[in-house]
């Protein structure tokens, strides 16, 4: 065979082709020339003739320029520092990207496992971030939220202790609005209140807020449809019956009817015209719970329940939270100072109602949460940290996978380096690959996260679904998922990439992939990562177990009242247009009829829902009036009918229950709980003592009974003072019917509802709950949180055990020869599997030791959020460690068993 290669090489001189490429071209062309040569020879040409013909054919066209066009010659010598242009950089990047995509496509199994692992981690993070973004980072979709501040009042001396905030009365609000120079606008809004809405169909319970006409304008909002309030509609009481409907209420309650604007609906029996639809996603100024509809403050009398009906003219009735937009250049502190000056003036002018009141001014972002803020922030931070750890586990799993692959790719990398690729260039290539993998995981993860969020949000209590905040997937969630994906790619890619690109070329080329010695250090790095995973999994499992035990304890908390055999019916006869005599008649009639229903032992009425206690501040105790100046007394106040204490199973400590004779013409009386009695009449008998409520129309109330303290606002709360008032002396037109049943209350719900419908079919009866459900709802947030912790703990455990299994299996496959030698030298199957198992379990145990320490530290930080469980609860810690050990043992045992199947002969020959 002629030396064709030599001929071609001569013609390629100075081509600057990459050496490997040049060799390939020479191979291919010389094969062609040899074919031609053979053809000429078989046609009868002599060796010399055939050779010359072939060379002539080769030179018929100039090879080099043609090739340079088609090859776009890449310079093999690295460009001088700083010489690389942006164009070159982009070119390299695109090349890297194509190469990375090809590499990933070539090993679909690896790519799928890695992307899925990452997707679980990124998905968990996206889901939690979406929730945090909605509730914490971006709670209210209003314009320039940082300029907005909420104004409430607080009892000066109490502020430091409880920080309990109160609403402003309408008249005080007006004073603030007219006097302030710090705010360009000051709006007022009430809390969401349950009212009865009647359109063509049956009456329904919805939530309304009274707002001042400038409400939407101050917030910088635009109507989705129609218009907002004119200021002329908020000047004369009771004249402008117009309402703005919230977007989601429009969707859910009116099916998004396009002709909604101009329609008339009845709110509490007063016809209102809908003038507009609020912006999509806006549900009032509380981050978590919002109203369905807004009406102007001048409609207070038509909307509010009887005791508050004079809210527009009575300075003692709290009604509004004020929210103002700060004028440019005014700080929060300046505004606070000004507001306090106004408050001081008000106190001077109207001392009887404004005594001791100070202004509480907070940024709206903070005020949007109310008292749940701390728990929410803590929960968010905890969950974010946990999903962060889950992602770290996923990252270290993928890093381990990459390390395994790096061993297989050593030859490829060595060739690239031999061909002149610098370390930096190689690193970039490898990182491009891992970032691409990260992004792939990110896309999947985003979908997982989205689905997870939807699922989570579908668990909201159905009664309030449209009043609770909607989860919003906005650009910041996309941005978050993208950044996390890229960072993830860098995090899990950097260590394997640094390793792969470090070893010297000659060493790598010389080495056989089978060699064991080198992968030792690789395995030790992998082991460190694994121990870390085990540690983090243990921490997550312990935290999940602690909270699980804690919530179990919370369910066993005795709230102090009956829950198992209790049913509640919310009824608002006043909202159906009943006047006082008719309402009182109704209460009596219902009690009589329901008491006759079989299976019912007691029936009563009360103004408060269990665990939704209403508090009043400024109670005066006879003989202790001095106290009033220095410290306002704050108590829960509940208006109740006869038999209330029997219905709820609250026992008497002293005195008597309310009776038929406690009527409007008799002495005003009250019952207090033992906490109140012990606090304000220590060592004395409270019976016969007298107290006065701040809003009371009565002078002094005489205490006739003392009952046991129960939970009034949350489960397991510190004991609070409570005052009970008899319904007959304290008329209210919206009450809750309490029914105590002999058996499971759900069986009697229908019978009770029937009786009420028989009395008046026009009364809305949507909100019916059993006592157990009340407890469930009180623990809803905690339950979701604990559920999430559990899911993430299991996810972490799953990822870590898959990682453990993978690395053990890999190490067994790498050490087949060693195992073969051991077996050839007489090691039995037992010895071999013990040997492998020991190796894995050493990693697991060190992980558990580290994780145990971390869990101990974390437990201390969490202790104040745990109920009835010590942060070092042996059952939680031990249980989590045991679960982890069992799973880890299985993950190690499977590879260990396969190691015993190594045939020494096969292993040694390979």
């Amino acid at each position: 065979m002629r030396e064709w290669k030599h001929e071609i090489r001569k013609r390629l001189a100075g081509s600057n082709l990459l050496p490997e490429r040049e060799a390939e071209i020479i191979d291919e062309l010389s094969a062609h020339l040899q074919d031609q040569y053979s053809q000429f020879r078989s046609g009868g040409a002599t060796d010399e003739e055939a050779f010359r013909s072939v060379v002539r054919e080769l030179d018929a066209t100039d090879l080099l320029p043609e090739l340079q066009v088609s090859e776009k010659i890449v310079r093999s010598d690295p460009p001088a520092a700083g010489a690389a242009s942006t164009g070159q950089w982009i070119f390299d990047f695109l090349q890297d990207l194509r190469y990375a995509a090809r590499t990933l496509r070539k090993s679909p199994g690896f790519t799928a496992v890695a992307a899925l692992t990452l997707a679980l981690g990124i998905g968990a993070n996206t889901a939690i971030f979406t929730i945090i973004d909605t509730l914490v980072l971006n709670p209210l979709p209003v314009a320039r939220i940082s300029e907005l501040a909420a104004v409430n009042t607080t009892q000066q001396k109490m502020a430091a202790q409880s920080g309990e905030l109160q609403l402003l009365s309408f008249l005080n609000f007006k004073e603030f609005r007219e006097t302030t120079h710090s705010f360009s606008h000051l709006l007022g809004h009430s809390n969401p209140m349950a009212i009865t809405m009647t359109d063509e169909r049956e009456p329904r319970r919805i939530f309304v807020e009274l707002v001042t006409a400038n409400y939407f304008d101050t917030l910088g909002l635009n109507p989705f449809m129609g218009r907002f309030f004119f200021s002329s509609e908020d000047t004369t009481p009771g004249t402008a019956a117009v309402a703005v409907l919230g977007y989601s209420a429009w969707q859910s309650r009116f099916g998004g009817a396009p002709d909604i604007v101009g329609r008339t609906i009845k709110l509490n029996n007063t016809p209102f015209t809908i003038i507009g639809i609020g912006p999509k996603g806006f549900k009032g100024l509380y981050a978590v719970f919002g109203p369905d509809i807004w009406v102007t403050s001048m409609m207070a009398e038509q909307i509010l329940p009887a005791p508050q009906r004079k809210a527009l003219s009575d300075r003692a009735i709290p009604l509004l939270t004020a929210v103002g937009r700060l004028k440019p250049g005014i700080t929060l502190a300046q505004a606070r100072a000004e507001m306090n000056t106004i408050a001081a003036a008000l106190e001077k002018e109207y001392p009887d109602v404004n005594q001791g009141q100070a202004v509480a001014l907070r940024p709206l972002t903070e005020a949007a949460y109310g008292p749940e803020r701390q728990g929410l922030l803590f929960g968010s931070a905890l969950l974010m940290a946990i999903v962060g750890f889950v992602l770290l586990i996923a990252c270290s799993n993928v890093a381990n996978l990459l390390l395994s692959r790096a061993a297989a790719r050593r030859q490829e990398i060595a060739v690239r380096m031999a061909l002149g690729a610098g370390r930096g260039r190689l690193l970039r290539q490898l990182l491009t690959e891992s970032v691409l993998l990260g992004l792939l995981g990110g896309v999947l993860g985003f979908l997982f996260g989205y689905a997870g969020c939807q699922f989570l949000w579908s668990l909201r209590p159905a009664e309030y679904a449209q009043n609770l905040a909607d989860l919003r997937i906005n650009p910041s969630v996309f941005g978050f998922a993208f950044v996390v994906s890229v960072l993830t790619g860098l995090v899990f890619g950097i260590v394997p990439a640094l390793r792969s690109s470090r070893t010297s070329v000659s060493e790598m080329l010389k080495e056989e992939t089978r060699t064991v010695g080198r992968s030792r250090s690789r395995i030790s790095l992998a082991n460190t990562l694994l121990a870390g995973q085990v540690a983090v999994s243990l921490v997550l499992l312990v935290v999940a177990a602690l909270f699980l035990r804690s919530i179990k304890h919370e369910y066993t908390i005795d709230p102090g009242f009956e829950t198992k055999h209790l049913a509640l019916f919310m009824l608002y006869p006043g909202q159906a247009g009943y006047d006082q005599p008719r309402t009182e008649q109704f209460y009596k009639q219902v009690r009589g009829r329901i008491a006759g229903v079989p299976g019912i032992s007691f029936v009563s009425w009360a103004s408060n829902l269990p665990l939704w206690g209403r508090k009043e501040t400024g109670v005066t105790i006879e003989g202790q009036e001095q106290r009033k100046k220095s410290e306002a007394i704050s108590t829960v106040v509940n208006t109740v009918d006869l038999d209330y204490f029997a219905t709820l199973g609250i026992s008497f400590v002293a005195g008597r229950d309310f009776t038929q004779d406690d009527r409007d013409i008799s002495t005003p009386v009250a019952i207090v709980n033992d906490t109140m009695a012990a606090k304000y009449w220590p060592g004395q008998d409270a019976i016969g003592k007298r107290l006065q409520l701040p809003q009371g129309k009565h002078n002094f109330l005489q205490i006739v009974g003392v009952v046991k303290t129960t939970n009034y606002q949350s489960l397991g709360e510190a004991p609070q003072a409570c005052v009970y008032l008899p319904l007959r002396q304290n008329y209210s037109d919206s009450m809750i019917l309490y029914v105590k049943t002999e058996r499971d209350p759900s069986a009697t719900l229908a019978a009770v509802q029937n009786e009420i419908r028989n009395i008046d079919p026009a009364l809305p009866l949507e909100d019916v709950r059993t006592g157990t459900k009340v407890i469930d709802q009180a623990l809803w947030g905690t339950k979701i949180g604990v559920g999430l912790l559990g899911v993430f703990g299991v996810l972490a455990l799953g990822l870590a055990s898959v990682g453990l299994y993978g690395i053990m299996a890999y190490s067994v496959s790498q050490r087949r020869r060693e195992i073969g030698v051991r077996m050839a030298l007489g090691a039995g199957q037992r010895d071999v599997s013990l040997f492998i198992l020991r190796q894995g379990m050493v990693v697991v145990f060190s992980g558990i030791a580290v994780g145990g320490g971390l869990a101990f530290l974390l437990g201390r930080a969490l202790s104040r959020f745990l109920y009835g469980v010590s942060p070092n609860d042996p059952l939680s810690v031990g249980g989590a460690a045991l679960v982890l050990l069992v799973v880890a043992f299985v993950a190690c045992y499977l590879p260990a068993r396969s190691a015993t199947r190594v045939d020494p002969l096969v292993a040694l020959r390979a």
Binding site: E28, E66, E71
Partner: protein
């Protein structure tokens, strides 16, 4: 007949190669030989222009070369048509047909 004009040849070269690879993968020598054979000797690509052309098509992702060693034969690089190549071939065929038709109508040559 004398060989056709160089420019014409260049214009049709891609189409010729893609068409030949449509049915089965072939190596470079095979491709060059078939072009000459089937054109009755009218079309001939020199080795120094045939291979750069193949490399260019490969770079564009229309064809893909792979070294294959068959029993009792030299190691050769076989080219096969990629999915993208198949698509391009269909488009080019159509265009070429339209082009030839147009030239025929203008120049008054009977369509083959």
């Amino acid at each position: 007949m004398a060989p056709v004009e160089d420019e014409w040849k260049k214009g049709s070269a891609e189409l010729l190669i893609l068409s030949l690879l449509e049915a089965q993968p072939r190596h470079g020598y095979d491709i060059g030989g078939l072009i000459e054979l089937r054109s009755g000797g009218m079309l001939h690509f020199h080795v120094a222009s045939l291979y750069p052309l193949l490399y260019r098509l490969e770079k564009r992702g229309w064809i893909q070369g792979r070294w294959i060693e068959k029993a009792d034969q030299r190691r050769r690089r076989y080219y096969r048509l990629t999915t993208e190549g198949r698509r391009v071939l269909a488009v080019q065929r159509k265009k070429w047909q339209a082009f030839v038709g147009a030239v025929g109508r203008v120049a008054g040559v009977e369509h083959a």
